[in-house]
């Protein structure tokens, strides 16, 4: 379970994130939507202790992330290219992450195999380093790596952006099946309202750093979200 209390992030006088209370149950698939500058990436960076909270706290399975490193063994994320090591081949990168998480090569290979249809034959055995892959393929590699080692919490920033339509659909399927088991708490952000309503059981809307909607996904959710964003004031 992820528990957020009085979390605030401020740059100068500008308050970019202000969440008084939020809890995400174990095994939940949690979607975060909002326009640019809403604070989605800021929120994820705070969950991963990549930026310092101005005040408040985040507890990941009871571990205060800002004070202890004990959340790292069961948490994985892919936010952007800075989670990739450019001079490795995809295979080397997967095994590197695997080794950090105490997974043998065979186990990593088996996991990669389940993502085969997302890779579409463009990732493995390409004799290329990560830095030379296209943005979309880099994203695929990063997302797959985030699932290595059975993490309990997986955080993905904009997993569908930059992917081709086929890969989007295939990835959606895989994400759904991952969360159906109830073992993984999945946090994704997206600008694509349709994808996010399909994958997530719960959707939270951020606007200018504040939590403005908290919806349990139902057949009407997509309409509701579209209405909300249409009526957004500038």
């Amino acid at each position: 379970m992820i528990q957020v209390n009085h979390l605030k992030k401020q740059y100068g006088d500008k308050l970019v994130l202000d969440i008084p209370e939020l809890s995400i149950a174990e095994g939940q698939s949690f979607g975060l939507v909002g326009n640019n500058g809403a604070g989605k990436t800021t929120f994820f960076s705070l969950l991963l202790d990549l930026i310092e909270p101005t005040s408040g706290s985040v507890h990941n399975q009871e571990v205060p992330v800002h004070e202890s490193e004990a959340w790292k063994p069961f948490t994985a994320a892919f936010l952007d290219e800075s989670f990739l090591i450019g001079y490795l081949t995809p295979e080397e990168y997967f095994y590197f992450i695997g080794e950090l998480r105490g997974q043998s090569k065979e186990v990593v290979d088996r996991l990669i195999d389940t993502f085969k249809e997302v890779f579409n034959g463009e990732i493995l055995d390409q004799k290329k380093y990560l830095r030379d892959f296209s943005k979309g393929n880099q994203k695929k590699i990063g997302i797959v790596a985030a699932f290595i080692g059975n993490p309990k919490v997986v955080i993905l920033d904009e997993p569908f952006a930059n992917l081709d339509p086929t890969s989007q659909i295939r990835l959606k399927k895989i994400l759904k099946s991952m969360t159906e088991s109830g073992q993984v708490t999945l946090l994704v952000s997206s600008h694509d309202l349709m994808h996010v309503t399909e994958v997530c059981e719960r959707i939270v809307v951020l606007n200018k750093g504040e939590l403005v909607r908290d919806i349990q996904t139902n057949p009407e959710t997509l309409k509701e979200l579209e209405r909300y964003f249409e009526e957004q004031e500038l």
């Binding site: 991963l48 202790d49 310092e52 490193e69 936010l79 800075s82 090591i85 080397e92 590197f96 992450i97």
Partner: protein
């Protein structure tokens, strides 16, 4: 149009990161540049007299004799170091500009490179000395005007040769073979080339031929870039072939091995780190200045300990100094993955220790200069492992300059890497052992001085857990600032 281009260029210059450093450091840099300009000028002026005194004959003729090698070396250096400005063309491609203008501007811009201007430091003062020495003014000016386009032609040749290893290496090897043949007295190419260069002096007006030579290559370069001005042709960036490597032998070291594997790949597969490795090998030979007695001031044993630290510490100073910046492009991954600071720091430390050990073994050739020289190196190595290794890791926490692994830019000194904190940290790295040695040898004898310095190193080694904990604390404190700095400049 040209005005717009120039404005772009001017802004690129003014807004480059190097301008945003502390003011006192900029002054220091300017003084440094001034120093080098003066040194080169002195060399240009002095070379005439040096050649004259060495009794090789008429200095001008001597220069002409070796000019072919000078040109060859120039081409080699350009090929290795001069960057082709294709990247700057890319954003101009789709703008409503005639392609001819873009190519012409880019080519003309390369003429302003240091690789062209730099030669003036030799040729201008040398020619002036020639005039003062009573050489025929018209002939000297003709010769000077002939040399200039020869080097500019090299500039264009290099543009054409870029990435054509197939052409380049045979040329270099044949030049080396020719030089060897000349040295061994088999065949002297200069007998054939020297008269050609002499002719520029002897026959007035012949310098036109050199200009024609340059224009031909300039036009060829223009044609080449004009026809290859597509993203997948002349403007493409070469992609290295990727190989998956295991290094299974490192697996037995557990987590440490995982990082070491990664670091070995980091060093092998990136331009910047490879350059650093080569630079660190150079340090091995630094001691020759001290131990061969070629410079009298360095005879003092205090300098020997200084040299000892440098000989084994090449890798420590060049690579270690930039930990954790080597990992800057994926630092967020390191900070959120299942990585403990302790493991991360330890792996970098071991890398430094292994490299220092290797350097110490390679440095055994200093035994040739007496066992005392090697003792100084051994003591330096112990101090490097025991004390300096922690100091570089500590200092690294304050260097927040992201490293672009794929480019060699700034490989030789980064302005932002010098801030007051890192400068302060160099004091214990170099001065402390010298002071300790001095104290020891004054109190008793040199052996005691060496022993004291080594003892410091051993103490540092013994307390390494404590040292790691202290460094870890600093890294943790600096974590967010470091992450932010890496993010800002990599994007």
């Amino acid at each position: 149009m040209i005005r717009l281009f120039l404005m772009l260029q001017w802004k690129a210059f003014l807004r480059s990161a190097s301008f945003k450093t502390e003011i006192w450091f900029r002054i220091l840099m300017a003084l440094g540049a001034l120093y080098f300009i003066l040194v080169f000028l002195a060399l240009g002026v002095g070379s005439y007299f040096i050649i004259e005194e060495s009794g090789l004959g008429d200095p001008l003729r001597v220069v002409n004799r070796f000019l072919i090698y000078y040109l060859g070396a120039d081409l080699y250096l350009r090929y290795m170091l001069q960057k082709i400005p294709v990247v700057n063309i890319r954003p101009l491609l789709y703008l409503p500009l005639p392609k001819n203008t873009v190519v012409r501007f880019t080519l003309l811009k390369t003429l302003l490179s240091f690789f062209n201007v730099g030669h003036a430091f030799f040729f201008v003062p040398f020619s002036i000395v020639l005039l003062f020495q009573g050489y025929d003014p018209i002939a000297v000016i003709g010769w000077h005007l002939a040399c200039l386009p020869l080097f500019l032609a090299n500039n264009f040749l290099n543009l054409l040769l870029n990435n054509a290893d197939r052409v380049f290496y045979p040329v270099v090897f044949s030049l080396i073979a020719l030089a060897l043949a000349q040295y061994l007295g088999w065949f002297d190419i200069t007998q054939f080339t020297a008269p050609g260069f002499d002719a520029f002096y002897d026959i007035p007006g012949l310098f036109i031929a050199a200009w024609v030579w340059m224009v031909i290559w300039g036009f060829a370069a223009f044609r080449y870039f004009r026809t290859h001005m597509y993203l997948d042709a002349g403007l493409s960036v070469k992609v290295d072939e990727g190989k998956t490597e295991d290094y299974i032998w490192l697996n037995r070291f557990g987590n440490l091995g995982t990082f070491l594997k990664n670091d070995i790949k980091l060093i092998r597969r990136n331009k910047r780190s490879r350059t650093t490795l080569i630079a660190s090998v150079m340090f091995l030979f630094y001691g020759l200045l001290f131990f061969t007695g070629s410079l009298e001031v360095y005879e003092n044993p205090m300098w020997q300990i200084f040299a000892g630290i440098f000989v084994s510490g090449g890798f420590l100073f060049t690579f270690g100094q930039y930990v954790p910046s080597w990992d800057s492009s994926y630092y967020p991954l390191m900070m959120s993955q299942n990585v403990k600071y302790q493991d991360y720091l330890r792996s970098k430390w071991w890398l430094i220790v292994i490299a220092t050990g290797l350097a110490t073994v390679l440095a055994t050739f200093y035994l040739y200069f007496g066992w005392k020289a090697y003792v100084a190196i051994l003591v330096g190595a112990v101090y490097n492992v025991g004390v300096n290794s922690y100091l570089v890791l500590w200092g690294g926490a304050y260097i927040k300059t992201p490293i672009d692994l794929t480019s060699n830019k700034k490989a030789f000194g980064d302005r932002q890497a010098f801030n007051s904190k890192t400068l302060l940290l160099t004091l214990p790295k170099l001065l402390l052992p010298i002071v300790v040695f001095w104290a020891g040898s004054n109190l008793w004898n040199e052996a005691f001085g060496f022993a004291l310095v080594a003892l410091l190193g051993l103490l540092g080694f013994a307390f390494r857990d404590y040292a790691f904990r202290a460094i870890e604390k600093v890294y943790k404190k600096e974590k967010y600032k470091t992450l932010r700095a890496y993010k800002h400049q990599s994007s």
